[in-house]
Each structure stands twice: as structure tokens, then as C-alpha cells.
Symmetry: C2
Subunit: 369 residues, 2 copies
């Protein structure tokens, strides 16, 4: 393989595919990335067998071929090279590759490209298209409430992608809360799959923020394939039955508070300072006619906050883990939000004052006093 | 104590004195800061008994008094308050303090101010004045080569401040290299003291970057007192005999290389990538008539760099720990620097092409081949 390419393009591509490279593995080749030259293109691939990321850049290909090189080492070298064209060339034995750029020459150990695991061929059963910017927002606004890896409920370490009646619902559940964002999509069929949280986290970094960039997502029984411009991400799906979140999100509530999102966020954030000191201690919301009092108590202090609200229905005293409120409020960009509730022992929902494009369902904490 | 002050001023002051607060200590009060109200001033003090930092801000003092409050908690609260005036008030028993700001009220546990260790009175024996900006540069350009805490040579964990013949020399030595920066100061007497590295690191964060801000440094047998605007830093001095660095820095050299600093820095940085993989492997400099070749070899690859130079004297092959070169080159702002050397087994010095205001003395590594 002998190619010449632009350093900036190469650096960006290496950064992208490196997100699928294993850090610790018993198969050393999974710490590599595959470089494959053909036509007028250099294709790069990282693959930890759960998640594969492939991208391609323009290159002058003088000799076709493929090679696997340590991702970290290669990326560190390319990052430090001066901003001139980079030449990559391998000898006939594939045991090493020479990197030439300006007055710098590196030789690094490599493995034959044929030893590297390619992405499996997948046959698409369903396909949707979605604005990259919207998908990026949706992931960012829900991913924080997936269950941790050690939760004992593997299915909840991913997010449900539920395509139903012209909407894509993206849903994350950790047992104490449900975070849901939806957007309109074109699809004749209804279907649902669960995508691993790690894959969504990495996809989120690749998604572009330009208004008109589109991502295509293809689903098979076992995989989802995200195509974004020159980059594809293939992830395994999680198997099992996801929580029936629809029932929870369509509950009826007797009361409603409308509040300035930033004021509530700042006040909960301050009150949580006191509760954080004694681990997991709840903050208490006293919902009154025109004011919400937010208080917390711990051995080292107390906090007392007042936030003006509009109330429809009944006042109430209710307690929450402040982290769940903070995560939801930070994810929302609206100025005003509404909180729906019925009693101190039943869940509340945070949502937009208009429409139902996001819902944060949060279980309360029982107060001991 | 009852006072009202500006939140921004308070936040900055708390941040400053918190740098002298113990993180883990068997004396819980050392995790506190002292707040002391008198006249029209609130004075704040952090003191871990090695290092004390005191600063003061304007305040409306309604009732004089003093109190010790947990530094971390207090600082987190002030950081999150809205940007309005802050009122601090303590009850008569000193067991807690109320923090009021807009619609937020906090109560935090406190201890009586009299329990907090004040700074000792120190009688100044020597005094110098120096531009804060210059002192900041001098510390930043030398502190990286103090010996680590576990080096077994406590005196070298500090920097020597050597006031001699109208200059302040700031010197750091770790056994493999010497870093020296000097500047002109007014002083009738010659004297030297060793200031702990930690104190200089914290002082560096307090020093201002404005051209005309001046720091006054007073020395006693046991302490140094740095005064910068409203802030004073008192540090214990290290006891013992510092290395006689002058002898090393005034050696004669037979050859000299003049080189572009940034080019050398970038090339060593790249070559070090290979050597970093196999720990502590040296980079090799082949100094030739118009070119320096920089090479490194490890089991996973090789690097080869060429840097144009001007040579006066003899060519040479010599090896170094690349970290020592990188630290020195990063600290220097000159475009061109010179490297002085005599042989592959004796030290080299990196210095300015004009003047002797900084010198980096670096021991070579013996090559095994």
C-alpha cells in the first residue's frame, strides 16, 4: 500500500474510527485500525466487535493494499506532524509502515490487513432518515438516564428506538426515571429496537450540527447501521424486552406547575449542594399557590430557596433525588416548563408547556418525618 | 458577625485563600477558611500551617466578628448564588452562619474564629520588589524541574531564590538538570533561601499579568512573605544546603548549535512518541554541519527527524531524556536558542542566543552501542 493524503483529513478520520477501538482486549489486533487503499480513497475502520466505525477520505493511491496499525500510536504521530501531505507506504511483508511528512519519517509495526475483522454484511429490514442535528439533540437529552453497566438489567443499558405512527421515540430508563424525546419520521412500519448506550454516545460525537445533514439508520434483527456522510457506524442491538414506557408516560395527573426552567434549575442546583454532602438525601419541594419552596437539610447545613410559579390544581409537599431533576432540566432548552403530579407518592412528569416532544418521568422519594 | 459584600469579590477571594486549605488533615479546622469582619473590610484566610494565604475585600460591616467555615462548601455555595449582594450573618453562639442572597438562604455549620490558626508575625530581614508578571514567568519557566516529593532530597523539592549582585536567580534542580531564570532586583545584600515548590505553584496562580503590578517579598530566617495587592502569602522556607548550581552553570563548552526553537521542539516531541512507548528510552541527536538528525528506536517503531541548524565547533552524537528537552524548550519564548556542549558524556546548556537570563543545564544519557 502506498498513498498520499491530506494530514487534516487523515487526523479527523483517525479520530472518528478510533472511538470504536478497544482499549483493553485479549485480541491485540482490536487495538489497531484498518487502513485500506483502493481507487482514489483511503478507508479507515475501527471495530471492537460490538461497535464498528468506518470512514473514508480522498487519497492519491499509488499502490492498493491494506494494513492494520496501532490506533493510539498512529493517531499521536499524525496529530504531531506538520500540516503538509502525508505519505504512507508499506513494504511487501506488511510488518511495518513508513509515514513520511516534510522532514519527518516514522516506521511503525503493522499487521496484514487481512487479519483485521471487517464489518459483517447486514440486510436492512427497516430504514429511517433523520436530521443529524435532531438525532444529536435527542441522544443528548435522554442518554443520561440509561441504567449503569452494573445494574443487572442489561437491556436498560441501551436506549429504545421506538418507531411508531410516524414518530421516532428515543427512550432511556434506569428504574427510577424515564427520559423520552420524539421526532417525526417517515416510516410505513412500526418497529422497536434497543441500541447500546455506548454506541449512541459515540454516534453523538460523529453527528454533525449542520441543519441539513441527514443520518440514515438501517435496522436488521441484530444490528443497526447509522450512515452519516462518509462515515458508517454498525452496532449490535441489545436483546430482550424493554420496559413498556408508554403506560407510564400516559398517566393522568391532577395538578400542574408552570415555572421558569433556569430559575428552577439554579435553585435545585444550590439546594442539592447541601443534600449532596449527606449522600442521596432528597430535596423537598413545597408547592404553594404562587411559590415553590425548595429546601434541603443535612448535618452540615440547610438550604431554602423560593421560586415563583403558576399553579393549576393542588399544592403539595414532595421529595426527589435532586440529580434526576437537574439532569432533566439541563437537557431542556425551553424557557418555561411544566411539572405534572398527583400526590407525594406518585411520579411527576416534566414536559414542555406545549406539545409532547419530550417527557421526563421521575419517581419521588418518600419523606421520613 | 454581620456583613454585606459583592458576590464576585467574595467568590474571587474565597478561590484565592482556598489554595492554602488542607484537603486531608487530622485537624478538621484546617479544612476551613477564616472570615473576619472589621472596619469596612472582610478578611479571608486559609492556612495549612506550611502555607497561609490571606486576602481582603470591601464589605459593609454591620457587626464585627470572625468565624471559620468549611472552605469547599462555602465556595460551592457562593459560586452558585445569583449575582447579587451577599449577606453573611452569624448568631451569638458561632455554631452556624446564614448566607442570604436574593431568594436563597443557606445555613452552614461554623466554628468560632478564635479557634482558627492565624498567620505568625514575622520580622523582615531582607526585602525585594519585583514585577508580578516577571515573577510569574520565572516560576513557570523553572518549577517543572524541582525534585518530586518522594525523591529523598527535601531541599530540592523547592526552588532556590538567590539574591546576588543585583540579580534574583530562581533555580530548580532535580538531580538530572538545572533550570535557572534571573532578573534584576534592587538589594544591598546578598542572601539565599529555598521556597517550597507548592508555595510557588500557588503564588503563581495569584500573581497578576498586568505589566505594572508589583510583588514585595520579605524574608526572615524561617519564612518568606509575598505581598501582591490585597493578598499576602506566607510560606515556611525549606532548611538545608541547596546545590551549588553556579559552578555547573559557568562551565566552558567547546561547541555551539543555533536552532529555531519551535522546529526543535516539534521534532523532539514527535521523536519522543516512539521513545515514550518503551519507557525512558533516550532520543539521539546527531549534530552535523548544517543539520541535526533526531532519531529514536523502540520495539514498535522508529522516528527520524531533520532540523536545520548553524554549528560552531564540532559535530557530535549525544543522547538525552526527551522530557528534559521538551520542558526547557516549552518554557522559552525566544524564536532562536543556542545549545552549548563539549562531549557526549558531559552536560549541555540550552540558553538564549543573547544574554544569560535563562539557562537549562541537562545531563546526557550514555548510549549503549
Amino acid at each position: 500500500m502506498i498513498i498520499i493524503c491530506n494530514r487534516q483529513d487523515l487526523l479527523k478520520a483517525v479520530g472518528t474510527v478510533s472511538k470504536a477501538v478497544s482499549i483493553r482486549t485479549t485480541m491485540p489486533i482490536l487495538e489497531d485500525i484498518l487502513l485500506e487503499a483502493g481507487g482514489e480513497t483511503l478507508t479507515l475502520l475501527g471495530n471492537d466487535l460490538e461497535l464498528g466505525i468506518q470512514t473514508s477520505i480522498d487519497a492519491v493511491v499509488k499502490e492498493e493494499g491494506s494494513i492494520a496499525v496501532n490506533a493510539r500510536m498512529f493517531s499521536e504521530i499524525i496529530r504531531r506532524l506538520p500540516d503538509e501531505d502525508v505519505k504512507l507506504s508499506t513494504g511487501s511483508d506488511s510488518h511495518n509502515m513508513t509515514i513520511d511528512c516534510a522532514r519527518s519519517t516514522f516506521t511503525v509495526a503493522t499487521l496484514p490487513g487481512d487479519d483485521f475483522p471487517r464489518l459483517p454484511e447486514v440486510a436492512s429490514e427497516h430504514q429511517i432518515m433523520i436530521s443529524q442535528m435532531v438525532l444529536r439533540d435527542m441522544i443528548g437529552q435522554t442518554i443520561f438516564s440509561i441504567a449503569p453497566e452494573n445494574s443487572g438489567r442489561p437491556i436498560l443499558t441501551g436506549e429504545l428506538m421506538d418507531v411508531r405512527d410516524g414518530y421516532l421515540y428515543l427512550v432511556a430508563v434506569d428504574g427510577f426515571r424515564i427520559s423520552m424525546r420524539r421526532t417525526k419520521v417517515q416510516s410505513d412500519q412500526n418497529f422497536k429496537v434497543t441500541v447500546p448506550g455506548k454506541a449512541l454516545t459515540e454516534i453523538n460525537k460523529i453527528l454533525e450540527t449542520e441543519e441539513d445533514s441527514v443520518a440514515t439508520i438501517s435496522f436488521t434483527g441484530k444490528h443497526a447501521l447509522f450512515t452519516m456522510n462518509n462515515t458508517i457506524v454498525l452496532t449490535r442491538l441489545l436483546e430482550g424486552q424493554f420496559l413498556n414506557y408508554q403506560r407510564n408516560l400516559s398517566m393522568d395527573f391532577s395538578s400542574k406547575v408552570i415555572v421558569d426552567k433556569q430559575e428552577l434549575l439554579d435553585s435545585v442546583d444550590r439546594a442539592a449542594l447541601i443534600s449532596r454532602e449527606s449522600k442521596n438525601s432528597p430535596i423537598r419541594l413545597d408547592i404553594q399557590d404562587k411559590t415553590m419552596l425548595i429546601t434541603s437539610n443535612a448535618e452540615n447545613g440547610t438550604a431554602h430557596e423560593e421560586v415563583p410559579i403558576e399553579l393549576e390544581g393542588n399544592g403539595l409537599t414532595i421529595a426527589f433525588n435532586p440529580k434526576y431533576y437537574l439532569d432533566a432540566l439541563k437537557a431542556v432548552s425551553d424557557e418555561k416548563i411544566e411539572i405534572l403530579y398527583s400526590s407525594a407518592l406518585t411520579p411527576c412528569i416534566i414536559q414542555a408547556t406545549e406539545g409532547e416532544d419530550y417527557k421526563y418521568f421521575i419517581l419521588p422519594i418518600r419523606l421520613h418525618n
